[in-house]
Structure formats: C-alpha cells, structure tokens
Amino acid sequence: MGFLEGAFFAVLTIGIIGAGAGVVLANRITTSALLMAFTFLNVAGMFLLLGAETVAMFQVLIYVGAITVLILYGVMFTPQVPRPYGLFFQTQKFWAALFVVPIAIFVALVAFAFRDTAAVGAKGGDLLPLATSVFRDFAFPFEVASVLLLAAMVGAIVLVKRDDE
C-alpha cells in the first residue's frame, strides 16, 4: 500500500510537471489546451491520493469539463496565422527573465526547505466535513459566489454581444 502510494505520486508528478511545461512550451495552441486538460486530470489524481474525493470530482467536472471546453472554444474562435517557433515569446525577454528567475529561486527555496515528514493520506471521506463547512460556516460566501457567477455570465454575454443587431 505504501509503495503503491509512492508510485502513484511519482506518476502523477511526472504527468503534472511534464504536461504543465508542455502547456507553456507547445507551439500549437490546441496542443497547449489539451495538455492543460491532462494536467488538470493529474491534479485530480493527486486529490484522490490525498483522500479528497469530492474535490477531485469537482476538479474533473469544472476544470476538465467546463474550463477546458471554454478554452477550446476560445481557441476555435480566434484563428491564428502560425508563427515560427522562437517568435512567440514576448519581445521583452530580458525583463521577463528578470522576474522569472528570482521567483523561481524563491519558490524553490520555500518549497524544498519545507520539512513536514508526517505522511498525508486518505482518512475518511471529505464530503461530510466539506458540506458541513460550506453550508454552515460559509453559507453567506456561498451565496455571494453564486452572485459572482451570475455577474460573470451576464458580463461575458454583454462583452461578446454584437452591437449591430
């Protein structure tokens, strides 16, 4: 069981980092979108490994389902002239590197200096505590979130509506 957990973790880590790097590095934008969906699936696997199966289900429904489809529609409606590879990096490469490198060093320091050797794993489902929290302590933010979604929906429709009809 312990070994199996470690093996799953290794496979999911390779999937997340490989596909995530592919999203940034791929030349074709459709490839980027599909690799993004694959990254989300691997993160859902991580949630399952952590024993958070409800969050994993939401991850598959919302990210792999809804957001990927939305992004693919965005790709479909904005056809591009294909560019040669090196050109699609921003012109201000130097400034980008100036930001990226310190962030990388900082993130690496913080993440790999973190020591907590206690194992994290499944201990009971997360549906009951999650539902209790959402509908008791976070009931008001939950309602506000629905207002936010409504506002975003109306805003998106207004933004893409044509004026001439």
Partner: protein, 103 residues
C-alpha cells in the same frame, strides 16, 4: 513509504512556477489564460494537502478550493469574452499588439 506533505508542496510550487513563467513569457492571450488556470490549480493542490494534513481544524482548506473553482470559472469566462471582443476589433490575440485598452 507514504507521501509526506513536503512532496505535495514541492509539486504545487513547481506547477505554480510553470504557470508564472507561462504568463510572463507567452504572447498568446489564450495561453496566458491557461497559465493562470495552472497557477490556480497549484494553489488548490497546496490547500488540499494542508487541509488533509491538519484535518483537525475542520477541512476549511477544501472550502477555499471550492471558492477558487467558482472564481476560476468566472475569470476564464470573462477573460475569454474580453479576448474575443478584442479579436473582433483587430484579428490578433497577441498581447504585444493589443493596445486599444491602453490608457
């Protein structure tokens, strides 16, 4: 060997960094949106890992993950709407060439 918390935090940090690099380095607005989604996913992973590790404090981290899902859905919808309406004015999604929102 069971997986320690630090391993999840490290994976989350690497994924967050990949997203940051994507936002800073790519020119295509749709790819920038995808990279933002990667960053949000990295924070979700860290939140769930910490929430499972310290489960005695009532699974609050997973609640924030649910709210991040909501905000991410709203953000990607509005972001794509902005990209599409900008594309209609000028057929490009290259952030170096989109300048009509500049003040």
């Amino acid at each position: 060997m069971a997986v320690p918390l630090g391993a999840f935090v490290a994976v989350s940090a690497v994924l967050f960094f990949i997203g940051t690099a994507g936002v800073l380095v790519r020119r295509n607005a749709v790819v920038i949106l995808m990279s933002v989604e990667l960053m949000l996913n990295a924070t979700n992973l860290a939140l769930v890992a910490f929430s499972r590790r310290y489960a005695s404090i009532d699974e609050r981290g997973s609640v924030f993950v649910i709210f991040i899902f909501v905000v991410a859905a709203a953000e990607v919808a509005v972001g794509l709407a902005i990209v599409l309406s900008a594309y209609r004015n000028k057929p490009t999604v290259d952030v170096d060439e989109l300048r009509q929102m500049r003040g």
